[in-house]
């Protein structure tokens, strides 16, 4: 499903990730745990090919980092849902438009888009806010929009980079509960976090990352 084989990521002669090998199977819950600066975000960015490995190979479904062309990357992104710590929403649009955007991009007809968007908004508990502008939402709500958007294309895996990083305790718990529910329904999750208490809420495999290296 997602595989990193002996991946190195080197920036200006400074190795940020060293010899990382990870294999994530369908439906798996995997934590990427480590202090800040360990390289978690970098690893996730490699996993949806926002950046390319300096050495080694990243494979996501049928896409291989050593062969993928620029034109294929958007199609990879639609199979991988990404939840960002800083949300990366389109702040000048409302909730509905943010979630539907990725679907328009895939050329789905409007009737289906509407149905799917309402469905994922219900899943993350934001049906009542569908016409709210992003700017008017709380952090927890924005994170849920972000998750709804990530889920809209029915990805087989969700990459979550510190999804609770910018949230208060209560919102964090909500988000983790939501992630647990998504995982139980069969979507694999790779979640990066530096918070000890975040990795016990959902049962899963824990990968420990420190200074760019995986601890066994």
């Amino acid at each position: 499903m997602i595989e990193l084989c002996n991946v190195w990521y080197i920036l200006e002669k400074h190795p940020i990730l060293e010899d990382i090998t990870i294999h994530i199977k369908p439906g798996e819950m995997v934590y990427l745990f480590g202090p800040s600066g360990a390289g978690k975000s970098t690893l996730l960015r490699l996993a949806h090919m926002e950046i390319m490995p300096t050495r080694g190979m990243v494979r996501v479904a049928d896409f291989n980092s050593s062969r993928i062309t620029k034109d294929e990357i958007p199609f990879l992104r639609r199979k991988v849902g990404v939840v960002f710590q800083d949300f990366k929403l389109l702040p000048d649009r409302d909730v509905f438009d943010n979630v539907s955007f990725a679907l328009w991009a895939t050329g789905v007809p409007y009737r289906k888009i509407k149905k799917r968007v309402l469905q994922v908004l219900a899943e993350v508990g934001l049906s009542h806010k569908r016409y709210a502008m992003i700017k008017t939402l709380s952090g927890g709500e924005q994170q849920r929009v972000c998750m709804a958007r990530a889920l809209a294309n029915e990805p087989f895996i969700l990459l979550a980079d510190e999804p609770t990083g910018n949230l208060d305790d209560e919102s964090s718990r909500d988000i983790l509960t939501l992630l647990g529910r998504i995982n139980r329904r069969g979507t694999a999750i790779l979640m990066a976090t530096h918070k000890e208490d975040a990795i016990h809420q959902i049962p899963g495999r824990i990968l420990r990352l420190k200074e760019g290296k995986l601890m066994s």
Partner: protein
């Protein structure tokens, strides 16, 4: 595909509102710079026309002896008409001359003068290709030497000035137009980039959720074209209004330059398209 296109158009239109500040700046910049460009076009068009017309108005005036009778006048006219390179010979009688004088200076002047002192004359226009300094001079001398000719006048000095400055005026106009044109393009390209730059982060986020470059690009290009149409359209309307306004006042001297007024709008569309596409390439690289 077609559904996507409808979406793109809608997004492009809504985009104007989303980026209202940047769009307003862009549209007004386009409007102002293209208005100036349009006015420059109209003005230089008229300068050109005036120069041409001026040249047409240079004719040789041959004043004739008041003692000549009708047959002598007729034979003199014939003689001038037969001279090679003459376009027209027009006879202005004493009475015609007086009427013209009266039109220009009023009745009082004539009454003050008393008897009609004006001589009759021929207004002789040379053919266009013969309207050169030497041909005019040769003909003037020829006319002067004819029996019954009192005096020959043509605007020698004016003609020389015109000849001297025509090239300067026309090529100077072209250079000015080119300069303003290129700075207009530069300005438009950069203000369009301003709108797109204000969307830099949003564009990056779109890329991250799997939108293809062409899907991201389309609404922005449509938005750019709209900005061009609106800005250029405003410029065209202003130029057109000024042309019409001027025509009301100076209808006698002005030519119809309305067609020129649409050039700013056309430029707006073309550069709205090119400028927004080019502004985007930088953000759509990765």
């Amino acid at each position: 595909m077609s559904l996507n296109f409808v979406y793109s158009i809608k997004e492009g239109v809504i985009g104007l509102r989303r980026t209202r500040l940047a769009s307003a700046i862009t549209i007004s910049t386009i409007a102002v710079s293209l208005t100036l460009f349009g006015l420059l076009l109209v003005v230089s068009f008229h300068v050109r026309q005036f120069v041409e017309q001026f040249q047409d108005r240079i004719y040789v005036e041959v004043f004739i002896d008041t003692s000549l009778d009708e047959t002598e006048v007729a034979s003199l006219k014939k003689q001038f008409e037969d001279y090679s390179g003459i376009e027209s010979v027009y006879f202005v009688s004493k009475e015609d001359a007086l009427a013209r004088f009266e039109e220009e200076f009023g009745k009082e002047m004539i009454e003050a003068i008393g008897e009609n002192p004006l001589p009759s004359s021929f207004q002789i226009q040379l053919q266009k290709s013969h309207r050169t300094g030497s041909d005019l001079e040769t003909f003037a001398q020829y006319a002067q030497s004819q029996h019954g000719v009192d005096e020959v006048i043509y605007h020698k000095r004016l003609f020389q000035l015109l000849k001297q400055y025509k090239l300067v005026i026309l090529s100077g106009g072209l250079i000015l137009i080119a300069m303003v044109f290129f700075s207009t393009i530069f300005l438009i390209a950069n203000t369009l980039r301003l709108t797109i730059f204000s969307q830099k982060e949003i564009i990056h986020n779109m890329i991250l959720v799997g939108a293809t470059n062409s899907f991201i690009r389309r609404p922005y290009v449509i938005q750019g074209v709209l900005q061009g149409v609106i800005g250029g359209g405003i410029a065209s309307l202003i130029v057109l209004a000024l042309i019409k306004g001027a025509a009301l006042r100076f209808s006698a001297v002005l030519h119809d330059a309305s067609a020129l007024a649409w050039i700013p709008c056309g430029i707006g569309v073309v550069f709205g398209y090119i400028g927004s596409r080019r502004g985007l390439t930088k953000f759509l690289k990765t």
